[in-house]
């Protein structure tokens, strides 16, 4: 059963290789037409979409320009506000310095007045205490006026100090008020500056967003253009394939007649003995019935294996249990498969002439040969020259011999 799966894989491989020459022309043509129609509609839709993207990209570019202009205006206004704030800050600092000086002056005068008041209070207390205990003998002739004189001068000093202190306090209050006014002004300006910066930031983000949108749209547009080009290419390919298929359909009848003429006329790929026949047969090794899509020819190690007809090498590489495998597409519509080779002497794409060597037989001395027409395996022994049938050593199982022959 595993062998059948491997044979199925080979069928897919061969079928894929021979797809362009398949026989289901009508189906293929319908498929081509359908795909072409779909691609054309998709292309139309893509163009509409592309135009829409172009318009969107233009709109976003315009929007980005507008935002950039607004950002520039906001930056100018922000710079102007910053300079204004700096000026206000300088004036506030100057006013503060003056206010501090006035405060110091007021403090100094207040201390002076306090000292004078203290002296006055002390002298008044002393005078009052002396009044409470008047001396028995008072000098009458020369009254001592120094105390009164000192007290009077202290009063004058205290009064002037109080007055100057009050003036300094008033000046300080005025200056502090002015400082507060400047501070408020600075705060308002700072708020305005913050607002401008926020606006600037928002505009910057909007500009970035618009640019990103524009770039994204341009990217999408480029992708759409590439898709359009790809669709163009695909459409052209589809049309080309359709035309080719159409031409192949016309050639089919000719090929069928030619293929019928090939029966029993093809040369053998190598001289040898057929050790495995085509179709269903019993395998003594596996002890069960197996289905073979080709034949196995035993020729001896190192013998050359040759192409049965001119054709193009579709595949030339190791493939699963087939070992070195070569698949050749022939102009007659046949596809020949050479498996289990010891060495491959061709490459994919090579154009081979009839009986040109494709490889040599491996050390086991046998190789696998298969023929397919329209993806279906056919019995190679039907198309090979009959003079080699006598070399068949295997007894063919009943009812399967040439089951798929045409």
């Amino acid at each position: 059963m595993i062998r059948i799966n491997f044979l199925g894989s080979l069928s897919v491989l061969v079928g894929t290789a021979a797809l362009l020459h398949a026989d289901a022309y009508d189906t293929l043509m319908k498929r081509y037409e359908k795909q072409i129609g779909q691609q054309e509609r998709q292309l139309q839709s893509l163009r509409v979409h592309l135009q829409q993207k172009e318009r969107d990209a233009g709109r976003w570019q315009q929007k980005a320009q507008e935002v950039k202009t607004q950002w520039s205006q906001a930056a100018t206004a922000s710079e102007h506000a910053r300079q204004t704030i700096q000026g206000i800050r300088d004036r506030r600092a100057k006013t503060r310095t003056l206010a501090d000086a006035a405060e110091w002056s007021a403090t100094e005068r207040t201390l002076q007045a306090s000292a004078a008041d203290g002296q006055v209070a002390y002298l008044a207390r002393e005078r009052y205490a002396a009044h409470l205990t008047p001396p028995l003998w008072k000098p009458i002739e020369v009254p001592d006026r120094s105390h009164e004189f000192f007290l009077q001068n202290l009063c004058l000093l205290s009064q002037s100090a109080h007055q100057e202190s009050e003036e300094a306090r008033r000046e300080e209050t005025t200056l502090r008020t002015e400082e507060m006014r400047w501070q408020n002004e600075e705060g308002q300006r700072s708020t305005e500056l913050e607002r401008l910066r926020d606006r600037q930031q928002a505009l910057w983000l909007r500009w970035q967003e618009a640019n990103q949108k524009r770039l994204a749209l341009e990217e999408e547009k480029n992708q759409l253009e590439q898709s359009e080009q790809a669709l163009h290419v695909m459409l052209n390919d589809l049309r080309e394939h359709r035309d080719h298929t159409l031409a192949a359909r016309q050639e089919r009848s000719v090929n069928d007649q030619a293929l019928a003429a090939l029966r029993g006329s093809l040369p053998w790929p190598a001289w040898g003995k057929v050790t495995q026949n085509f179709g269903r047969q019993y395998s003594s090794d596996l002890n069960q019935l197996v289905i073979s899509n080709g034949i196995k020819i035993e020729t001896g190690a190192g013998h050359s294996v040759r192409a049965i007809q001119p054709g193009k090498v579709l595949f030339a590489s190791p493939f699963r249990q087939y070992g070195e495998l070569v698949i050749i597409q022939h102009k007659s519509g046949l596809t020949s498969v050479y498996g289990g080779l010891g060495q491959i002497q061709v490459k994919e794409g090579n154009l081979l002439a009839a009986l040109e060597a494709v490889g040599t037989v491996g050390e086991n001395g046998a190789f696998y040969f298969e023929l397919r027409h329209d993806e279906q395996p056919v019995n190679p022994l039907v198309y090979l020259a009959p003079n080699h049938r006598s070399e068949i050593s295997l007894s063919l199982p009943a009812g399967r011999q040439g089951g798929s022959n045409q």
């Binding site: 008041d117 002298l123 009052y128 205490a129 008047p134 001396p135 007290l151 009063c155």
Partner: protein
């Protein structure tokens, strides 16, 4: 004997002289005593202690302190409390202080207790308000040390003069006792005693007149030397001297 011969006895001159001298002496002693007393009285108003209280002491606390000061110290005669407001009101009357006090925001004057002590406290204590010194409410204690020194000096002078006068009076009384004894116990005649008393009174009158004129002559204010009984003191002294002379038998009674 006739009265006339009794008057013109030679010994009467001695009685007259002695009564005159002792009359002047008694007047002098009495006058000095009065003058010293008057001087003490003039100094006494200055003997007041001003206890300045802390500014944190309230009126109630000060009044409590006042009561305690009165009750604890028996030498306290009177206590007067002057609050801060009253002090300010009082000090505002001083033109030199009123302007200063108006200038100040707070009243700098402290509340105070004006305490008057007895003479004994001023004489015996080194500090009259000594019990108040340790109180926390007290800020300062002031008093006139000069006035106290003068007062103590005057008081001591007056005390010594008083002792001297008492001694003199005692001597005179003893001397007078002899005269009275001679007259009453020895039955001396009345006439010579009466004549000698009249001579002694004459000497006393002369002493009083001379003392008064002497004071007026030196231009002194004699008011202190003129107490109510001053005019009679030389007369009494003269009479007492005459009785004493009679008792000592200086005179010939025949």
């Amino acid at each position: 004997m006739k009265i006339r011969s009794l008057f013109f006895k030679p010994t009467n001159a001695h009685v007259l002289m002695l009564s005159f001298l002792l009359g002047v002496t008694s007047a002098l002693l009495f006058g000095l005593q009065q003058a010293l007393g008057s001087a003490e009285n003039s100094v006494r108003p200055a003997l007041a202690v001003a206890v300045l209280l802390q500014s944190t002491v309230t009126d109630d606390q000060a009044r409590t302190l006042l009561t305690e000061a009165k009750s604890r110290d028996p030498e306290v005669l009177s206590v007067l409390y002057v609050s801060k407001a009253e002090a300010l009101q009082e000090a505002s009357k001083d033109p030199a202080l009123s302007k200063s006090l108006m200038l100040l925001k707070e009243n700098p004057l402290p509340a105070s207790l004006i305490i008057r002590y007895s003479d004994r406290a001023w004489m015996e204590r080194s500090e009259p308000a000594e019990p108040l010194k340790s109180l926390p409410e007290v800020q300062e204690i002031r008093w006139d040390a000069q006035a106290r020194t003068i007062f103590r000096s005057l008081h001591q002078w007056r005390a010594w003069l008083l002792r001297l006068a008492c001694f003199a009076v005692a001597m005179l009384v003893v001397w007078v006792f002899f005269g009275v004894y001679r007259f009453l116990a020895l039955r001396a005649p009345l006439k010579p005693l009466a004549v000698q008393i009249i001579v002694g009174l004459t000497g006393g009158v002369v002493a009083a007149i001379l003392w008064a004129y002497a004071l007026r002559g030196v231009g002194m204010d004699a008011s202190a030397f003129r107490p109510t009984g001053f005019s009679f003191l030389p007369l009494i002294t003269g009479a007492a001297v005459a009785i004493a002379c009679f008792g000592l038998g200086v005179y010939d009674t025949n």
